[in-house]
């Protein structure tokens, strides 16, 4: 431990900051290139709600002032960057005047919880099955069944979510159709609430797991084939070690490392995929928040949610990159 050179960490940190900065800038520039004016959208909403609005000119001017639309572009940009660093995305226009940060704060734990559970389960199951596909001693069933299950790999979680929802929620009614917890359950650290959360989270998590474990299994299979031919595996076999011991301590251990890099690259896709799964299950996370914001043209929320998810992705990749050299001593630290 402690063998990671400073330059490597510095390099990764710069990439992280660049990623977040470029993403934040894109999110800022794009809406400004469009002809849509957030102040006018809000005024339009008021007009639709109240029939007519007196002094609409004055209100429009006030709103534009409130959103800081009268400042020069560069001032707006600097202010935006400063706010983004402080997680201040302004106020939601659809549920004015709730701060966007509050709405994200309420949604984030659901997304992170669901994501961690499904990613960890997927990674473990996938790699184990991929290893078993190559292992000489695994049951015949494993070698036949897993490749067959592999066709699901290519399907995005939103499609599997729809199918699972239809079969197990709409038809069989084993699981609830939507929501993150029961209607009549008081949120809090009670057993009833936890139970309800698990019950409601089961199908969304399953829809991610069934379509993504194959990706890991496939990668692991390729790596295991390589490891199988290595001298140290043959030596371990010649020594007469138990096959199971060889599988875990020699083969999986050596094969799994590139999978961790793949993991870092896959995180972005997984998170984006989960946003869609949350949308169809109306799960109380960032996906639902984003979808509702799209419906309401609630720009501050769209920007805030996108920014936070990109930040999460970039941070996860950064962490995986830092952990990787710790578990793989063979890696060369290129401080470039």
């Amino acid at each position: 431990m402690g063998r990671i050179p400073r330059a490597y960490i510095f390099n990764r940190l710069v990439t992280l900051l660049l990623t977040v900065w470029i993403a934040a800038t894109l999110i800022w520039i794009i809406p400004r290139l469009s002809p849509v004016d957030p102040a006018e959208i809000m005024l339009g909403r008021m007009t639709a709600g109240a029939g007519t609005v007196a002094n609409s000119e004055a209100i429009l001017a006030t709103l534009q002032e409130r959103f800081g639309l009268n400042d020069p572009m560069i001032v707006q940009y600097v202010k935006y960057l400063r706010n983004v660093v402080q997680f201040d995305f302004g106020l939601s226009t659809a549920s004015f005047p709730t701060p966007v940060a509050t709405m994200i704060g309420n949604a984030l734990p659901w997304t992170v919880g669901l994501m961690l559970v499904s990613i960890v389960i997927t990674f473990i199951i996938g790699n184990l099955l991929g290893a078993l596909m190559v292992w000489d001693h695994s049951p015949k069933l494993v070698r036949v069944a897993i490749p067959a299950a592999m066709v699901f790999t290519s399907i995005p979680p939103i499609l599997s979510g729809l199918l699972l929802m239809w079969i197990f929620a709409a038809n069989m009614q084993w699981f609830p159709l939507t929501g993150a917890y029961g209607l009549f359950v008081e949120p809090g650290w009670t057993w009833a609430f936890v139970q309800s959360v698990i019950y409601h989270g089961f199908l969304p998590a399953l829809s991610i797991v069934v379509v993504s474990f194959g990706f890991w299994a496939l990668g692991m299979r390729g790596l295991m084939i390589t490891v199988q031919g290595e001298d140290y595996t043959k030596l371990a076999e010649a020594k007469g070690l138990r096959p199971r011991y060889i599988l875990y301590r020699y083969m999986i251990r050596n094969a799994i490392l590139p999978q961790i890099t793949a993991f870092a690259l896959k995180i972005g896709l997984l998170i984006a995929g989960q946003v869609l799964v949350e949308r169809i299950f109306a799960y109380n996370g960032m996906g639902k928040l984003l979808y509702d914001a799209i419906l309401d043209q609630d720009f501050p929320v769209i920007q805030g949610v996108s920014y936070v998810i990109i930040l999460m992705t970039a941070l996860s990749v950064f962490l995986v990159d830092l952990i990787y050299p710790l578990i793989d001593p063979r890696i060369r630290h290129e401080a470039r």
Partner: protein, 307 residues
């Protein structure tokens, strides 16, 4: 296989069989995958001729009819006029597939082609020019690979509203050039020192000649694999946008059909044909692409072929 000794010439049939077994491109996965995709393309091409494409318009048929052989909740039986049923706005599901499936493939292939061209250009530039240029390209691709395209595109399309299929493909292309760039850069760096490249250089070949006549052909299996992977990513991204209600509004796409079905509560009302048939077709498309990719892996990495 029959044992062939050196004295005996193999018969012509045997020779043909051996050639077949040795030809890695005759890979069953590759053939199956290509077959599935060709089937979808054929559905789009032949479908337009054999089936009336005007049935994709709202109100062209009765609402919410089930497929042939099924009955909907109002007790109506499916008819041959709409063999796969109709959606909540009276559009024929078969016509939606015929028009929508090629649209999805088109977005994927176009985005991937553009991304690939950018990737080939940047990858060769980074590998050959090196130095500062290489640094910039490498850092940029590192950065862009982390940003999930879906989210930036959500911001874009909610700001600009309706986009065309081509525009969506161009936007997605902005996020699928990184992996070919990295792949080519790495290969160029390692191949630059390879014997045959040095030979070519000694014999006075131009850089362009070395790059595109000597090196590029060696990369074809990898590039093709990367291309297929990018088609999948692009279609997944496009479908994601469509299911969120963004994406093209005036052209029928499979994702938009699913979006409309979910919004109309098709799941609870058991109007399964409305969303499940487009979903299945998309699944077939993804499986086809996956099989092609697996097949290509086996072609370029013989070690994988033993399973």
């Amino acid at each position: 296989m029959a044992e062939i000794t050196t004295e005996e010439q193999p018969t012509r049939a045997e020779a043909r069989r051996m050639r077949r077994f040795d030809n890695p491109w005759r890979n069953p996965k590759l053939i199956w995958g290509a077959g599935l995709l060709l089937g979808i393309v054929a559905l789009g091409l032949i479908g337009r001729v054999l089936w009336d494409p005007d049935l994709v318009f709202t109100g062209s048929s009765m609402l919410r009819l089930p497929p042939v052989g099924f009955e909907n909740m109002r007790g109506q039986a499916g008819t041959l006029a709409n063999p796969l049923g109709t959606d909540g706005a009276g559009r024929d599901v078969l016509a939606l597939l015929i028009i929508g499936a090629p649209n999805s493939l088109f977005v994927g292939v176009l985005a991937s082609l553009i991304g690939m061209s950018i990737g080939i250009f940047l990858g060769f530039t980074a590998g050959f020019v090196g130095g500062r240029v290489d640094d910039v390209i490498r850092v940029l691709s590192d950065v862009m690979i982390t940003i999930p395209p879906l989210l930036i595109l959500v911001v874009f399309q909610s700001a600009f509203g309706d986009v065309s299929l081509t525009m969506m493909a161009v936007l997605i292309a902005g996020f699928v050039w990184q992996s070919p760039t990295r792949l080519i850069r790495a290969q160029v760096l390692s191949m630059r020192e390879a014997g045959y490249v040095q030979m070519a250089r000694l014999s006075g070949a131009s850089t362009m000649h070395i790059m595109f006549r000597e090196m590029l052909p060696n990369l074809v299996p990898y590039l093709f694999g990367s291309f297929i992977a990018n088609v999948t990513t692009s279609i997944v991204t496009a479908v994601g946008l469509e299911v969120l209600g963004l994406g093209p509004q005036r052209v029928p796409t499979l994702g938009r059909t699913i979006y409309e079905a979910i919004n109309a509560g098709a799941l609870i009302q058991n109007l399964w044909w409305w969303w499940a048939i487009p979903t299945l077709l998309l699944a077939v498309m993804f499986i086809g692409l996956l099989l092609i990719n697996l097949g290509l892996d086996e072609v370029s990495n013989p070690r994988l072929r033993k399973l």
